[in-house]
């Protein structure tokens, strides 16, 4: 059966499916059980799977990270929720110092098949600390996989993949598009690959590389630019570590032009890694400098001004046009 559902519903569907398929999958986090999560990602799962498997934790993110590490060494597959990415920092120690290293440290004797989910990004008029994009902090860490869906179908397929993966996965959900659109998602239990980008639109003039909520703006910009005769290839990177550089490289080698779009601050953002790798490996194909359309290197403003901070369709179009004009 397939249904038109939102991205948050797709997350819920994938969780339910994973829990049905595998009794070792358990959920933990703040307000995820009775309340079904502050965004309702886990709604109904307590009723369906019981309180042994859908667990409201005390309020402590370091603890959530540490518990997930301990549980996963014993063969459980904890899917832990951090309520907002702005509160993930206390859990980083356990992700970096333990989850990412357990298999390596024990030469394969133990491993940490855990998933840490967190909504992230701006645009929902939330209070301070509820709108940041700090995926770089995790994507830079060897051993962690960092995955970001940008549609209901990819949320479903990638979350299933993340849960089944025997490596620790940080699964970041762009909450601005939790309910942006409904699309058909078949609950067929099929995972999507964690090691490939998704080409969402083909085009021959320029490659637009993006992830997260700005995939929407990027696609919109591509549509509008098509009217102006510019053919944009739009690629959703989706997995930021390890990155599927091959797909990106193939596209940019063909188009010769590239704009990278993300919401995180530019300085040291993952756009830099992509641009650096492309510039290294495709230098001779490049017909113009690779531009980045990103958040500013400033603190995410409180919500009144957040639209100034977020990359807009116009920002993307302008960057594309400038890149196209470069000779």
């Amino acid at each position: 059966m397939s249904n038109a559902i939102t991205m948050i519903e797709a997350v819920n569907l994938a969780l339910a499916r994973a829990m049905t398929d595998d009794p070792d999958v358990i959920l933990l986090g703040e307000d995820i059980a009775t309340n079904g999560g502050v965004f309702r990602a886990t709604v109904g799962l307590l009723e369906q799977f019981g309180e042994r498997r859908v667990i409201d934790t005390p309020l402590a993110e370091t603890m959530i990270g540490g518990l997930a590490v301990g549980m996963s060494t014993q063969g459980l597959r904890p899917v832990a929720e951090i309520q907002f990415m702005g509160f993930i920092f206390p859990a980083l120690d356990h992700l970096i110092a333990h989850a990412a290293r357990m298999r390596n440290r024990t030469r394969g004797r133990l491993h940490c098949p855990l998933v840490l989910r967190a909504p992230f990004g701006g645009g929902i008029r939330a209070p301070e600390h509820h709108s940041e994009s700090t995926e770089t902090l995790m994507a830079h860490i060897p051993g962690l996989r960092v995955v970001i869906p940008s549609s209901p179908a990819r949320a479903y397929g990638l979350l299933l993949a993340a849960i089944r993966c025997n490596d620790p996965v940080v699964f970041l959900e762009p909450k601005r598009i939790y309910r942006a659109s409904k699309t058909l998602v078949e609950d067929n239990g099929q995972a999507l690959p964690l090691d490939t980008c998704f080409t969402l639109r083909e085009g021959g003039d320029i490659t637009l590389i993006c992830w997260g909520a700005v995939v929407q703006e990027t696609l919109e910009a591509a549509t509008r630019l098509a009217d102006k005769g510019i053919g944009c290839e739009v690629i959703d990177v989706a997995t930021l570590n390890p990155i599927d550089h091959d797909t990106l490289l193939a596209s940019v080698s063909r188009t010769g032009r590239c704009v990278i779009i993300h919401e995180a601050p530019r300085h040291g953002g993952m756009g830099a890694e992509i641009a650096a790798t492309l510039a290294e490996k495709a230098l001779l194909s490049l017909q113009a400098p690779i531009r980045r359309v990103t958040g500013y290197d400033a603190v995410m403003p409180y919500y009144r001004n957040e639209q100034i901070y977020l990359p807009s369709v116009e920002d993307i179009m302008s960057a594309v046009e400038q890149t196209m004009e470069f000779v």
């Binding site: 703040e30 307000d31 009775t34 309340n35 079904g36 502050v38 409201d56 005390p58 309020l59 402590a60 993110e61 370091t62 603890m63 702005g86 509160f87 206390p90 008029r125 939330a126 209070p127 301070e128 600390h129 509820h130 530019r266 300085h267 500013y296 290197d297 400033a298 603190v299 403003p301 409180y302 919500y303 009144r304 001004n305 957040e306 100034i308 901070y309 807009s312 116009e314 920002d315 302008s318 046009e321 400038q322």
Partner: protein
Amino acid sequence: MSELVYRGEIQLTRYLADDGTPLGPLPGWAQGPDPLTGYYRQMVLARQFDTKAIALQRTGQLGTYASLLGAEAIDVVTACLMQPSDVLVPYYRNHIMQVIRGAEMHEVLLYWGGDERGNACPGMNQDLPNCVPIATQCLHASGVASAIKIRDEKRAVLTMIGDGGTSKGDFMEAINVAGAWQLPVVFLVNNNQWAISVPRSRQTCAQTLAQKALGAGIRGEQVDGNDAIALHEVISRALEQARQGKGPTLIEALSYRLSDHTTADDATRYREQSELKAAWEREPVQRLRNYLHQCGHWDESREQALLEETKTTVQSAVEQYLATPSQPVDDLFDYLYEECPPGLAEQREQARQKMAGGEHHE
């Protein structure tokens, strides 16, 4: 063979029954009109403010807002007992406390309206701004108290935290170092029984939150957080001990979150109406009004006048809030570093153009 090496105890202080009648002899100061009528006036103001803020949110004129309904006595009594030279390290539910400490009411609205100026509050001196990441403020409070101790000053620091927050390492590290260094700080737990949807009983199996003090080797006590008289006694003593160099205290104030967690929350999903109803029988504003009525310090006409007066105060703050123009685009960049670095200045220029050009770049 076992020998007893440690014993610790926790006391609960209360003076007024749920309906405002004294449970026994009261402290002398509580017989007169001051400071209790003053407390009462601020508590009513707090409640008016709260009602209005929720209305603004419901009509799209304010962002997500965290109500203080049920915490009026804790907020007001504490703020009134602090001296200007003391330092408040608030959490995100201390609206009236901040106003009493020097914030403008419209600034509080600006904060919840998504404007950094609502956290600036020049009137608050060295007080810290609202703190969203749970429990982190407790370590800041210990840091502020360290500064005071290093400088040998006679000032107290007070910080507030919710019941849920006491599960977090920051809180426990903060009370521990406060004990180790005998810092002039008071940790005030607003135990309103819920952390969003998680009840107090699920945070910890400790019978009281106050006993977390025992783990840190510091004084800990419980107080009825709906009882202004008890709050006054317990908090003033703790503040004074801090100022006198007699070390930190952890106070667990028993209250109840009469509202949803925030306007983004719907508490009917997870808690019983009956529990809420019962809590309304114990709430702080009515209780103090009853007591003041019994003493003859308050009556219906004063009540009406107060309601008028506070309504006006709130209304004028709302107007000032609504009339506040947004910050200029430069303000996104200019407060980050002491001097804006060149790269950021470039981005500021881009942002200026983005706004000026209505998004139309060349």
